[in-house]
């Protein structure tokens, strides 16, 4: 409950200084959980978030590409972020969601275990990816430190999937 005061304070701050908060100093993100880890993506890259629906398998693709599904008449690819990030869990339960994001102009849906919340992280609290991640730095945009001490990995969504990884050029 100690946080309650903080929240109220923050709200008051937002009301009194809305200008400051919406400027570039703050990243607006949506947080979610995949496996054990918490990730976030920029809120503006998200088209919509839906509950899981049926999909169709597609041959000759890596295991993290589950297939395609119909979203109001459009055929969208479905990527399982749990498999992509080598998480053991692949169940679908009541918390599982499809996040539809625009990547290089194309809508793509990602399966995640659970949504957490919308986040506003001041840019100064976002650090570049740590060195140990250097081999993966292409998909990690940075690491955000929340006020409550949590660490969130911010994904560089344009790099999460690559066409050449999915459909290898055959002769």
């Amino acid at each position: 409950m100690a946080n309650l005061n903080d929240v109220i304070k923050k709200q008051q701050q937002m009301i009194s200084e809305p200008e400051k908060d919406t400027t570039e100093d703050v990243e607006q993100l949506v947080g979610f959980v995949v496996g054990e880890e918490e990730f976030a993506v920029p809120i503006l890259s998200i088209q919509e978030i839906i509950k899981p629906i049926e999909w169709t398998k597609v041959p000759f693709v890596p295991d993290y590409v589950l297939g395609v599904f119909n979203l109001r008449g459009n055929v969208l690819p479905l990527i399982d972020l749990r498999k992509k990030f080598s998480s053991a869990n692949s169940d679908i339960d009541e918390n599982t969601r499809f996040i539809v994001m625009k990547i290089k102009g194309e809508d793509v849906a990602f399966i995640i275990d659970r949504l957490t919340s919308a986040l506003r992280i001041p840019k100064k609290n976002i650090l570049p990816p740590p060195d140990t991640y250097s081999n993966e730095d292409e998909i990690i945009d940075g690491v955000g430190r929340l006020d409550d001490g949590r660490i969130i990995t911010i994904l560089k969504i344009d790099n999460i999937i690559k066409r050449e990884d999915i459909v290898p050029e055959r002769d």
Binding site: K57, P59, V68, N70, E106, I166, V167
Partner: protein
């Protein structure tokens, strides 16, 4: 400037259209050199191009067409007989004209540095002059004989046509003569009023001319008094009726002119996309109606709903056809250039060949028309070069000296068939095989096993060329390969038939459109696929014993053909979960010249589907052309038959279809190899059943409700289920429904164990897919018997 640009574009469109027709007309003219109507038509083209060209300041073009016009004019007047040599010059001048026009289209001026018109102009001039001297006397003779009947003043009446009026000076004519001329002109107009756009201008011209020509009439009024009384009155009457007739003609022409408009193809494409969406929505609507019909059987509103759904479905189909038709062009557009091609080739090769074209009105989608031209050129060249023999050879074999090539187009269901047939020496399957072995295309072993029909298909293999000597016409061994690739691109099929000594027939079967297609839906294991119906030759049901193994590859003997056979699940690396059944279902696929048999697990049916892309990330997956959304909202993948064939070939080389069938066959000998799942929320009931089953020796697993059962089913290999009906979270009926949704559990025995005994309960059980119904209480033996019967132990 814009206006000029527009004018230029109109000029080019018109000119190219006319030239296309002209090519054909010229060849026909060579056969009928006296056909005046043809001559006039050709003359008019040159004349129009010259006229418009000079207006647009295309001097080079004008220069050329002026000389062409002169030659044609002479021919038209009967002063020149068209010989093949003269025709060669005319044709080359038409080619030069085409080249200049193309240059204008690309560069906006007619400097066309690659085209040198001077030599052609000189030849044309020579013809004009030569023709003049040789035929002068003849002309005079004919004039004299005609003098009695058809001579008007200095002119021969027959010579005067609406087209050359402006070149003649009619002012000298007497009123009577003028009358005759006018009469004739009206007759001419009446006999040929349907003559297309450019005539419209000519009618106008004529009208002006007539007005002009009536002027001297007025001048003469005061000369002979007698004539003044009679002639002008008569003239006036005539003038009125003529004016009316002309108005009529003009109206007709205007109305036909306004019935067509040019539309940007992109707009039509957009329309086609929208209709694609509509077709999807329609399919969905029909599916929903069927669901609703089941649930509310006998309700009154169903009738109304049915009416609405059917009328929407009919209108959608009609709309689709209507828009498809707007994109259709007659194949004559492509056929038109072939008479010229055959003529030139036969002269080059010193053969005598007649080309008979039919079905040029058959319509095809614009995009297909654009793709079909090149392959057809190759096929026609091939027929002329390789098919038809030399005249000497033909005579020796007791055939008419002149060979014939037939080019025919017609509709067959959803396909258009283009047939190229020749009465040449045909193909020798043995020779073809020999050749293929020499070129290393097939092995001698393979050669023994291929049928005559398959041997003919060898000509489509890359690197195969049958002509002993390579001519500049064909024989480089690329042509037929290109044909195959192009036809495959259009999802078409090639069929070849040939009788030695009698000739060959090539049939190209091409789907009418590309965007919305008819498809055969099949299931391979749990996955559905849509196969374009245009590539499905037939479907057959076989048993495992029908599969033969030749050189370590699976084949299917179908009538007198031997087809490679592969399992679709192997091609797409689909995990096998279904046990093979007694009958196997095979789709015979045809593409270009290749045929294969594809084993699937079930035929679902035929459906109209709209092709959608899989998007940037997934497009280009081997064997998949795209996806479609079905009536139930699910996505079904569409097979790309071309790349599927390639994949199938790889699979065929490394995997026997019979092996893959046996992969799933499980060896179950003793009772403990079988697993029975008990689904019941009561621990006591589970225990009772468990004990009974233990006595049988089978393995048992337990689930507390439907949801748990479903999850366990996916993780365990279950051979039968005992299901309670009343359960929390998911009841027995729903569980049965869910289980039956999976192909692989279609035959899994589901046994309801319940105290609900009414008839309605039993019916419901059957509806959701229960196999047996055991009412509580039951004896241990009864339960054991039911299980034994269902597991066949």
């Amino acid at each position: 400037m814009d206006e000029l640009q527009e004018l230029l574009e109109d000029f080019l469109i018109e000119a190219f259209e006319m030239i296309e027709e002209m090519d054909q007309d010229l060849v026909e003219l060579e056969n009928n050199p006296d056909d005046l109507e043809l001559l006039n038509k050709i003359f008019r083209v040159a004349h129009t191009v010259k006229g418009s060209g000079s207006f647009l300041n295309f001097d080079k073009l004008t220069h050329l067409t002026h000389h062409m016009e002169a030659v044609l004019d002479k021919a038209r007047k009967g002063e020149l007989k068209i010989t093949p040599d003269i025709m060669d010059v005319i044709l080359s001048s038409v080619d030069a004209m085409k080249a200049i026009l193309e240059y204008i289209r690309d560069n906006g001026n007619d400097s066309a540095p690659d085209v040198d018109v001077e030599p052609i102009v000189q030849k044309l001039d020579a013809i004009t002059k030569g023709g003049n001297t040789t035929t002068k006397e003849e002309k005079q003779n004919t004039q004299e004989t005609k003098e009695e009947s058809g001579k008007v003043g200095d002119f021969n009446l027959d010579e005067i046509t609406p087209d050359n009026l402006d070149e003649l000076d009619l002012s000298e004519l007497s009123p009577e003569d003028l009358d005759k001329v006018l009469d004739k002109l009206v007759d001419d107009m009446n006999t040929a009023p349907e003559e297309s756009e450019e005539d419209f201008e000519e009618v106008e011209e004529n009208e002006e001319n007539n007005q002009e020509s009536s002027k001297p009439e007025e001048n003469k009024e005061n000369i002979p008094v007698k004539a003044q009384n009679t002639a002008p009155v008569k003239e006036e009457k005539k003038e009125i009726s003529k004016a009316e007739q002309k108005k009529e003609i003009k109206k007709n022409i205007i109305s036909t002119k306004e019935q067509t408009i040019r539309v940007d193809v992109r707009r039509l494409d957009q329309l086609m996309n929208l209709i694609g969406e509509l077709v999807l929505a329609k399919n969905r609507l029909i599916k929903i109606y069927n669901d609703v019909e089941e649930r509310y059987e006998g309700e009154k509103f169903l009738e109304e709903l049915n009416q609405v759904v059917s009328s929407i479905s009919i209108v959608t189909t009609d709309l689709q056809i209507a828009v498809m038709k707007t994109r259709m062009l007659p194949i004559g557009k492509v056929f038109n250039k072939f008479p010229r091609l055959v003529r030139d080739l036969s002269r080059d090769l010193h053969k005598k060949i007649k080309l008979i074209i039919s079905g040029e009105d058959t319509e095809l989608d614009k995009s297909i028309i654009e793709e079909i031209g090149d392959p057809l050129v190759h096929m026609i060249r091939n027929a002329v070069d390789h098919g038809i023999e030399t005249p000497e050879e033909r005579v020796k074999n007791g055939k008419p000296e002149e060979g014939t090539v037939w080019l025919k187009a017609y509709n067959e269901g959803n396909m258009i068939v283009i047939e190229i047939k020749d009465d040449g020496h045909g193909m020798d399957p043995e020779k073809l095989k020999q050749k293929a072995i020499e070129k290393g295309i097939i092995t001698p072993g393979e050669a023994e096993n291929i049928s005559d029909k398959e041997a003919f298909m060898l000509i489509f293999k890359p690197g195969f060329s049958t002509a002993a000597k390579v001519t500049n016409v064909s024989g480089r061994g690329v042509g037929m390969d290109v044909v195959k690739t192009n036809i495959e691109k259009l999802n078409g099929i090639i069929e070849v038939d040939s009788i030695k000594g009698k000739g060959s027939t090539f049939k190209l079967k091409i789907p009418l459109t590309l965007a919305i297609i008819q498809a055969l839906l099949v299931a391979s294991q749990e996955d559905l696929f849509a196969i374009p119906l245009s590539n499905v030759i037939e479907t057959v049901r076989i048993v495992e014993e029908d599969i033969y193994t030749i050189e370590g590859k699976s084949v299917l003997k179908l009538r007198n053909e031997v087809l490679p056979l592969v399992n679709m699940a192997d091609v797409f690396e689909i995990e096998k979960v279904l046990e093979p059944e007694k009958y196997l279902y095979v789709v015979i696929l045809g593409l270009g010249a290749t045929k294969i048999g594809l084993i699937v697990d079930r035929f679902i049916g035929q459906e109209e589907i709209v092709i959608k892309s899989l998007g940037e990330f997934l497009k280009g997956i081997s064997g998949i052309a795209g996806a479609t959304i079905r009536g139930d909202g699910r996505v079904t993948l569409i097979v790309d038959v071309g790349s599927l064939m390639k994949l199938a070939k790889e699979t065929h080389n490394k995997k026997l279809a019979t092996d893959s069938l046996n992969e799933v066959k499980k060896k179950k000998e003793k009772p403990s190899d079988y697993t029975v799942m008990i689904v019941d929320d009561s621990a006591m009931d589970r225990k009772i059943m468990h004990q009974a089953l233990d006595e049988l020796g089978v393995s048992v697993i337990e689930a507390k409700d439907g949801l748990e059962a479903l999850n366990m089913l996916k993780q365990n290999d279950v051979d039968a289920m005992l299901v309670d009906i009343e359960m929390p979270r998911m009841d027995g009926y729903t569980l049965a429904q869910e289980v039956r949704k999976y192909n692989k559990y279609r035959k899994l025995p589901l046994i309801a164990v319940t105290s609900r005994t009414t008839k309605a309960d039993r019916v419901r059980g059957v509806e959701v897919g229960m196999n047996e119904y055991i009412t509580k209480p039951y004896t241990k033996e009864y339960l054991q018997n039911v299980i034994k019967r269902n597991l066949h132990i």
